[in-house]
């Protein structure tokens, strides 16, 4: 049965606060995370047009609530895997903004030493086990990380984020079947932003809900959540994580959302029907969540304080990353093998 929650504007009452299953601390964290993602993505957008970020990058403007909601429910030693549109998912694990912007700008301080770029952001120390640029590849890989947790009985889980387009590729189907038969502690999260690159997902998918309608093919429950409501996302995450941690096996969650920008920097997204963007901008997660905080009794100056400190952090990280030099040329020849080298002969 599909589970659906919507953000309702509620007047704060003592009862609401007393029955709050999420708690102010988590909410403040989720707000901060959404802001961080929003501002980092916008900063990346601006730096691209200043020609300081090259190549391509895929921004998650408008989709911040998903990474933030799931991110807040994670344990620090859990594993996350995401796609090339992965700035958000990496950021919410607590990675350094300077290292992230530095990597996008190809600098020495970049989290990947300037060798991976936007599409491969990884911070193993923080459990961010990689951003993957081949559609579907990371689904079975996430299952493998979950296998380790199961084998060593660590209680860790793996959470795997991907887009609606991924549900039509072979690796998706192999990974889900595999995870289910081995009861692996992995949670698969499909961010359905209605478009597979430039094509509406509905035109290329045999079912209406690309992930949720396939869950039953693997014996899984169909779960749909409003991806623009961080609280709704958080609740679904907690349920799925507990299930996985307790040996209940994998979950497949479809989070509905919308991306404000094109598929990538190169895409002005002219294929969207008129009015669609405007409709979704009305459901922008961040203003909605700001209001939610106020509704739950958080003071305006506290909220403003978060906004200011996030902005300041992003500005500081931008300057630090800009000031970092390009990577030393030796980096080109290192890290092919575990010994740090790249030699194929003697």
């Amino acid at each position: 049965m599909a589970k659906k929650t919507t953000a309702k504007k509620k007047a704060p009452t003592n009862n609401a606060q007393l029955n709050d299953d999420i708690g102010e601390e988590n909410r403040l964290k989720m707000y901060r995370l959404q802001l961080e993602v929003r501002h980092i993505e916008q900063r990346a957008h601006d730096l691209f047009f200043q020609n300081l970020i090259k190549g391509t990058s895929h921004l998650a403007l408008g989709q911040e609530a998903i990474a933030s909601g799931f991110g807040t429910a994670l344990r620090p030693d859990d594993y996350t895997f995401c796609t090339y549109r992965g700035h958000a998912h990496t950021l919410v694990r607590g990675t350094s903004m300077t290292a992230m912007l530095g990597e996008l700008m190809g600098k020495e301080c970049g989290m990947l030493k300037g060798k991976g770029g936007s599409m491969h952001l990884t911070d193993v120390e923080k459990g961010a086990m990689g951003s993957y640029a081949i559609i579907g590849a990371h689904l079975p890989i996430a299952a493998g990380a979950a296998w380790q947790a199961q084998y060593n009985k660590t209680g860790q889980i793996a959470v795997c984020f991907f887009g609606d387009g991924t549900t039509n590729i072979g690796a998706f189907h192999e990974a889900l079947n595999f995870a289910v038969i081995w009861d692996l502690p992995v949670v698969y999260v499909c961010e359905n932003n209605l478009y597979m690159e430039y094509t509406p997902i509905s035109e290329v998918t045999a079912v209406e809900h690309p992930a949720a309608d396939r869950a039953s093919a693997y014996g899984l429950e169909s779960i749909i959540v409003d991806g623009n409501d961080a609280d709704a996302v958080y609740r679904v995450a907690v349920t799925a994580f507990d299930k996985a941690r307790s040996g209940g096996g994998p979950s497949l969650i479809e989070a509905k959302t919308y991306r404000h920008s094109g598929h990538s920097r190169a895409d002005p997204a002219k294929y969207r029907p008129e009015g669609e963007l405007e409709e979704w901008l009305k459901k922008d997660p961040i203003p909605m969540y700001r209001q939610r905080l106020l509704d739950y009794g958080v003071k305006e100056d506290v909220v403003k304080g978060i906004e200011d400190s996030v902005m300041a952090a992003v500005d500081e990280a931008t300057e630090a990353a800009k000031a970092s030099p390009p990577p030393p040329l030796e980096y080109a020849y290192t890290d092919v093998w575990a010994d740090g080298g790249s030699s194929w002969r003697n």
């Binding site: 594993y79 970049g110 989290m111 990947l112 030493k113 300037g114 060798k115 991976g116 491969h120 990884t122 911070d123 193993v124 120390e125 086990m129 990689g130 993957y132 081949i134 579907g136 590849a137 990371h138 689904l139 079975p140 890989i141 996430a142 299952a143 493998g144 990380a145 979950a146 296998w147 380790q148 947790a149 084998y151 060593n152 793996a158 072979g170 690796a171 192999e174 990974a175 079947n177 595999f178 038969i181 081995w182 980096y331 290192t334 890290d335 092919v336 093998w337 575990a338 010994d339 740090g340 790249s342 030699s343 194929w344 002969r345 003697n346």
Partner: protein, 325 residues
Amino acid sequence: MAELIYREAVAEAIAQEMRRDESVVFLGEDIAKAGGVFKATVGLWEEFGDLRVRDTPISEQAILGAAMGAAMTGLKPIAEIMFSDFLAVCWDIICNQMAKSRYMTGGQVDMPLVIRTANGGGARFGAQHSQSLENWAMMIPGLKVVAPSTPADVKGLLAAAIRDPDPVIFFEQKSLYATKGEVPDGEHIEEIGKAKVVRDGDDVTLIALAMMVPRALEAAERLQAEAGISASVVDVRSLVPLDTQTILSEVRKTARVVTVEENPRLCGWGAEISSIIAEECFYDLDMPIVRITSPHIPLASADELEDIMIPSVDRIFETVRQEVD
């Protein structure tokens, strides 16, 4: 010393390593209860159980993806891909993910895993189950590539591969599974990246891999007996890392080189070795570098047709006899 069959050496190597290291796990199709379609992993499930030796569905991408995720997070997985021809089905995981993740993440990601696969022809399985695909792996930076020719090398090199912190693709030759050889007792481990001179000679050097090694050796016997040509034979064993020192020093000794490759002509490993020799030993050569390979044609299945395509002892003998003056 004991005589082992090539296929038994596979299971022995895995058992040896699984006994000494709890983090070694093994997955693949029909590898556990059935002991593998080539009977190369018999006894492992019985000794190590369901948790460490696991059968999978027919899902090569999932098998390798899971191996990679496990390797990234602390396990040392061995994954079997039944026929090397199936590498095509999961090639993304191998060449885009496993080979490149450490590099792209600036060294953050570990990848201590082994992919074992049955490679090569001679078994009449037809074109889609008989290819020699070690060359696919050789040309992707970030992969180590090993192809043993004897049971002793199977055991020693597979053990080394399992201990190796980098991704190793281990190509077993399916027509060698039934062959026998002496293997040292006790723990046996070889060195990846070292070739072996398996026969000394003065007039010409035959450079061979896997199933071509015993054929080159037999041809060398005939060359000595029937043509008075003294041939040395080098078993390359590892394509990556490549033991160029051993190869080049043999070339300088005999001044003549012939490669013996099971693969079809284009881009076989012998082409790369020929290029290195031509560049670094040009002034030591007394003869053009000659390559003996299968023709650049899919392998046929009928006995006579497959046998004429894969280099035979006769063809190796005739070619060397004609070329060496």
